[in-house]
Amino acid sequence: QQQVKQSPQSLIVQKGGISIINCAYENTAFDYFPWYQQFPGKGPALLIAIRPDVSEKKEGRFTISFNKSAKQFSLHIMDSQPGDSATYFCAATVTQGGSEKLVFGKGTKLTVNP
């Protein structure tokens, strides 16, 4: 199954709050898990990424938690700011027959209210 299931579809958070977006997958061939941030009219931009042999990665206010046994990973945005308002996509890379590609979740539209 080359799917990544993402929830929630939309999320509203107050400034200073914590935003949490969850993703789950079935395919154990996925070998790298990036998160992308997309502003309206722009392409997805790499935000943070994690390898499956690591349980957590933190970059500034952004943290990925990864649970390999549960096949789940999540993005936490601490101290959320109005400028974080965007659509967030979890993704996974899979390599088959020597060819690698990204598989995206359906996205979460985050709104951070001032």
Binding site: G41, G43, P44, S99, K101, L102, G107
Partner: protein, 114 residues
């Protein structure tokens, strides 16, 4: 910071017409991709390209679609006979070699088929 450049930003075409979407990937990148995003939906893989040939293509990438890297810098997506359902945002992406190397996406071309 190096960018992936896509032109045009917006293309309107009549059903049945041919369109060519243009991309200039980052110069030292080796792998090239086209993805599409129908309004409000997830980003979907279309095709990957490496060493001047298609590495993988999705079910969406049927005989109406083709890709070319004509001159070592440009990477084009051609749709021979557009359909209404081809209306979407088309993103070009490129990456260098290796696992864990991020994909860089362009800002996209919004294709509207009328």
């Amino acid at each position: 910071e190096p960018e992936v450049t896509q032109t045009p930003s917006h293309q309107v075409t009549q059903m049945g017409q041919e369109v060519i979407l243009h991309c200039v990937p980052i110069s030292n990148h080796l792998y090239f991709y086209w993805y599409r995003q129908i309004l409000g939906q997830k980003v979907e893989f279309l095709v990957s390209f490496y060493n001047n040939e298609i590495s993988e293509k999705s079910e969406i990438f049927d005989d109406q679609f083709s890709v070319e890297r004509p001159d070592g810098s440009n990477f084009t997506l051609k749709i021979r006979s557009t359909k209404l359902e081809d209306s979407a945002m088309y993103f070009c992406a490129s990456r260098y070699r290796g696992l864990g190397v991020g994909y860089t996406f362009g800002s996209g071309t919004r294709l509207t088929v009328v």
